[in-house]
Symmetry: C2
Subunit: 195 residues, 2 copies
DNA sequence: AATCAACTAACTAACGTTTGTTAGTCTCAT
DNA sequence: ATGAGACTAACAAACGTTAGTTAGTTGATT
């Protein structure tokens, strides 16, 4: 039980302050125990981090798999836009998203390899949800006949950009950016005959 | 002279390891002096940081102003694409760019306000170089008649996305992303009659 | 039912290191 | 001879970590 609390609080603190700025004292205080007691559950600070990372990857994958399967049979545009919204919202508002952002942007020196692996694992799940949507869109003549990897690539870059911008801009400007990027992206990928 | 060296080495270290992971001992060692000697030139660590930040902002602004004025009279597409390339290259390869990335993504707790100001100052310069290009493109009928703020917004988001992705992907994948994003962006903004 | 051993999970105290910072001193140009 | 800029020495605070102790629970043995 305590162990789960530690993981939860550590996730929170890592997400908001980063790994190196989160001390064991902080974590212990958040849980309500003393610093050395952490060693009853984890062998060291790194171990806490990796368990948190693992947990976050699991949650993210589960989240995206669920959302991917929930995509209803609306128009391609709606499906993509929903995905865009959901993904962005999750990444910018959830603790897991913030943690992910922190550790993928600037991995704690040393374990950047493990983190890259984790990142790519999550991205894979996402791609698998995305590919069929694009493929169907092209088949149905709703989208330009562009290579699917090109579409997913551009889609990610869009999202990554907004993901980053969420750092500097307040909600108003961010929403404007979100809208602008989406509109131009959509103009770029939709089949020109369809209008 | 020593002071300039300190600023240069601090810039380097802050760019590669971040503010909190860079100790005064590191900086002193890089310069070739002892830690307390730093206090002959700066009142404390924060002061070093802010002088570095100031210097970086100056350099970035100068760089973009120059590049903006150098844009030749090629086609709109080439002008924009050049900008895209130059900006990305600068942000991903120069020490100043890396520093900027570090401090804007995750500002050292406390002085995030100052950093935001710096970021917006640089962005302003960039926007001023960009607006006339888009305006001319629309006038000449090369681009869709979209609101210019929408174009700049989307353009930034694109670049920000790639800027971020430079963290995880090796050159090959990154170049693929770069290409994909640009192509779809261009399809989105170019005037459909022109082809 | 009572006893004892083993385990869990908390604690206090202290470790050695690193952090940013200050005080005081020496040296060398101006 | 004055001051700038280097130095050594030392500081308190915070870091991750270890050692040793104690209380509470569980299971098996008598």
């Amino acid at each position: 039980m305590t162990k789960q609390q530690v993981l939860e609080e550590a996730l929170n603190l890592f997400a908001h302050h980063g790994y190196e700025n989160t001390s064991l004292a902080h974590i212990a205080k958040a849980v309500g125990i003393k610093k050395p007691s952490l060693y009853n559950h984890f062998s060291n600070k790194e171990a806490i981090f990796f368990e948190v990372l693992d947990e976050v990857v699991k949650r993210q994958i589960q989240f995206f798999e669920q959302k991917g399967s929930e995509l209803n049979q609306d128009s391609i545009e709606d499906q993509l836009h929903d995905f865009y919204d959901i993904y962005l919202d999750y990444m910018t508002t959830s603790t897991e998203g913030m943690f992910f952002k922190r550790v993928t942007f600037f991995p704690p020196e040393n374990f950047s390899d493990e983190i890259k692996k984790a990142f790519l694992r999550v991205e894979d799940t996402l791609t698998n949800s995305l590919i069929p949507v694009f493929e169907k869109g092209i088949e149905e003549g709703k989208l330009r006949k562009l290579p699917v990897p090109m579409l997913t690539s551009a889609f990610y870059t869009l999202i990554d950009g907004l993901f980053l911008e969420e750092n500097f801009y307040d909600t108003d400007i961010l929403n404007e950016r979100k809208k602008a990027s989406w509109e131009i992206f959509w103009l770029g990928i939709r089949h020109p005959e369809e209008a």
